[in-house]
């Protein structure tokens, strides 16, 4: 590796388009991480983030395409009224797709909660089972809806709008990086304080944390543990649903098989590395998003991208060790305090 390569990498990494791509790539990871965070705070390791995102991504695309078609009716692009109706159709399609995708993910969250809480199924196995069902089920459903197994490009689905932020968009460099993204990007950023508020400042959040820390103690003070777990899983599904919709209705307007490509698990790693705190999780999600974006770029430069692609997982392993040592020390300290 010569100096030439390094300067090439530098040139690619210090561009506004790279900075903007970090925001773009991080969005679904961040949503998944937030979804995992709420479940984990309730003591549930939700391995189904991936499957929930995948299913809601497909549902969003299919529903938006059908609603758009229904609103347009028999109008052809040549018709006079087409222009006026088409805008409305796209808006209705996008809204319906968004809602349907998110609803689908919430229902899956509740289903997982039913399996784990009511039927006492092993949470890891049922989470992984949901992923398998989603992987196959989405391809199956895609084949029924679009007649192909790879992509939904034959469906005319809608995307969420792109937002130009006034004033900021005119600032050089910053404007290019921050403005002009899909609305889901900004929504993801807004969800961070929202999740913080839900988990840390509401009574539901308090109950979720109480159940996560010690379900028996929570139950002894009158908390309905099962209900809280259902609530947490519904919330987890909600954020995964946002993530799924952002994948298929954000920068691209189609669903392709397996399009989550491990983003759910990267989100779960980010949540683990951030130790399920909203701020830590967000920082970790952005770090992983950056590595993901970097791996994409470095692929074009004959640098072994496999190393970059491994960074999130290695970082999580190290994170797991660090937290384990910290908790160990904390418990030891507490024990010493009490033995005095």
């Amino acid at each position: 590796m010569g100096e030439g390569l390094f300067s090439q990498i530098f040139d690619l990494l210090f561009t506004t388009s790279f900075a903007a791509s970090i925001l773009r790539v991080t969005t679904p990871i961040l949503f998944a991480a937030l979804g995992g965070l709420i479940a984990r705070r309730c003591g549930i390791m939700n391995l189904a983030l991936e499957g929930m995102m995948l299913t809601s991504a497909l549902t969003g695309v299919v529903v938006s395409a059908f609603v758009r078609k229904a609103v347009l009716g028999d109008l052809m692009p040549a018709d006079a009224a087409y222009e006026a109706v088409s805008g409305r159709a796209v808006a209705a399609g996008a809204a319906a797709g968004f809602l349907a995708g998110v609803l689908c993910s919430v229902l899956m969250g509740l289903f997982l909660a039913y399996m784990a809480v009511q039927l006492k199924a092993n949470i890891y196995l049922s989470g992984l089972a949901i992923n398998t069902i989603s992987t196959g089920g989405t391809v199956f459903a895609l084949y029924l809806a679009a007649g192909e197994k790879g992509m939904s490009s034959s469906l005319n689905s809608c995307t969420m709008p792109v937002i130009d932020i006034p004033i900021i968009k005119d600032i050089p460099i910053i404007g290019e990086v921050i403005s002009g993204h899909n609305i889901m990007v900004y929504f993801a950023l807004l969800c961070v304080p929202l999740v913080y508020y839900i988990v840390m400042r509401t009574s539901t959040g308090l109950r979720i944390r109480a159940v996560g820390e010690n379900p028996n103690a929570a139950e002894s003070v009158g908390v309905n543990v099962k209900k809280v777990q259902f609530q947490a899983m519904a919330l987890s599904g909600l954020f995964c649903g946002f993530g799924g919709v952002s994948l298929s209705m954000g920068y691209v307007s189609f669903f392709s098989r397996g399009m989550t490509a491990g983003k759910g698990f990267i989100g779960m790693s980010a949540m683990n590395l951030g130790n399920a705190t909203p701020i830590g999780t967000t920082i970790a999600a952005f770090l992983f998003g950056m590595f993901d974006a970097m791996a994409n770029i470095l692929q074009s430069l004959s640098v072994p991208s496999q190393f970059i692609a491994s960074i999130p997982y290695v970082a999580t392993l190290i994170g797991l060790i660090v937290f384990a040592i910290q908790t160990d020390r904390k418990t030891k300290r507490l024990k010493e305090k009490h033995s005095k």
Partner: protein
């Protein structure tokens, strides 16, 4: 009946019901989707047996699944939910290929044995990391093993791409594995190879290990009640460590066997072959009993081949098998599924015993 007999009978019934319900759901969906549902379902059920080559396909497919399934059984017996099977299988297959293509000059048997040894050692090393993180740092083995699987996938991609890629082959594939390293085919007209005997031997061996040795007893004890095991003087740390390493070794061996038995080149680039998850399904179906692994693996392979035949003969996409697979896992894993029926069984049994006692008096 003793309570153990009831338990066993109920387990079998529950597994049967889970399969029946999952397949029932699938058939209902098929009858809505397909133009000729009866024929589609018929090909699914009888298709795999109609040709010799398809029966061969079943046996070929169940071989790797038996390895990962047995690996899962051993680990889950001690409640170690290590998911490393997938990664261990992949990286072992990868390094086996690398070893074979770089030691072409070796003669047949030593090369094969060395290859299998590479697979076992690789599997142990792969499983060691989540295992040591669990026992030393109490890090959740589920999370860390899934992370490891992604890391190993990248390592495997790297080795394939930079160390053994055959640029002439035109795709992402390794150099050809030398012919003499490969396992012999045992059934003409199919690709069934001697590796299936290794798989069966491992399953039987592990059954004896789990149910007939002191070590196996310790493992089952830790799985049933870790605290009780601890107070009986069983070292939980060494059991946790040992089961995960054995599991890794078996999955790694499976990767080697699959490579030497079925493939000319290493071709898994960018995707995991998925045998790790199939292993979980098999382990769940077999109730973590290695002796039932061949049966469960046969069932899964049969279902896969059936779906494949149906996919080609009718208008139903093969992917519905994944849905069936997921549903079966869920129903079998659900403790409370059919719990009312179990309750009834126990009550009826108790009543009968009481009556018998009264009659005797």
């Amino acid at each position: 009946m003793t309570s153990k007999q009831i338990e066993r009978r109920f387990d079998a019934f529950k597994t049967f019901m889970a399969i029946a319900i999952a397949l029932g759901i699938a058939f209902i969906v098929i009858s809505f989707v397909s133009e000729s549902p009866v024929e589609a379902i018929a090909t699914f059920i009888t298709g795999p047996l109609q040709r010799k080559s398809r029966i061969g396909n079943i046996l070929e497919m169940m071989t790797p699944i038996m390895f990962t399934g047995t690996a899962i059984c051993i680990m889950y017996q001690a409640n170690q939910f290590n998911m490393i099977g997938e990664g261990a299988f992949l990286i072992a297959a990868n390094l086996t290929t690398w070893f074979a293509v770089t030691h072409e000059t070796w003669s047949g048997l030593p090369l094969q044995i060395a290859c299998l040894r590479v697979g076992i050692v690789t599997g142990v090393v792969a499983a060691f990391i989540p295992a040591i993180l669990k026992v030393k740092f109490k890090a959740n083995e589920v999370v860390s093993s899934i992370m490891m699987n992604y890391i190993l996938l990248n390592v495997s991609n790297y080795i394939l791409y930079y160390k053994m890629r055959d640029t002439v082959s035109g795709q992402q594939a390794s150099y050809k594995i030398p012919e003499r390293a490969k396992f012999a085919k045992i059934w003409t007209g199919t690709r069934v190879h001697t590796g299936i005997f290794i798989a069966l031997a491992v399953a039987v061996l592990m059954y004896f290990f789990i149910y007939r040795t002191k070590w196996g007893y310790a493992i089952r004890m830790v799985g049933a009640n870790a605290n009780f095991a601890k107070y009986s003087g069983i070292s939980i740390v060494s059991v946790a460590m040992a089961t995960q390493l054995i599991g890794g070794a078996i999955a790694g061996l499976g990767g080697s066997v699959e490579m030497l038995g079925m493939y000319d080149r290493f071709i898994w680039y960018g995707t995991q072959p998925g045998y790790g998850f199939d292993g979980i399904m098999v382990g769940v179906l077999a109730k973590n009993n290695p002796i039932l692994v061949p049966l469960a693996a046969f069932f899964l392979a049969y279902m896969r081949i059936g779906a494949d035949v149906m996919n080609r003969m009718s208008d139903v996409p093969i992917e519905f098998v994944d849905v069936v697979q997921g549903l079966i896992i869920m129903f079998v894993a659900a403790e409370m599924f059919l719990s009312k029926y179990k309750h009834k069984l126990i009550v009826n049994n108790a009543k009968k015993q009481l009556e018998a006692k009264e009659a005797a008096e």
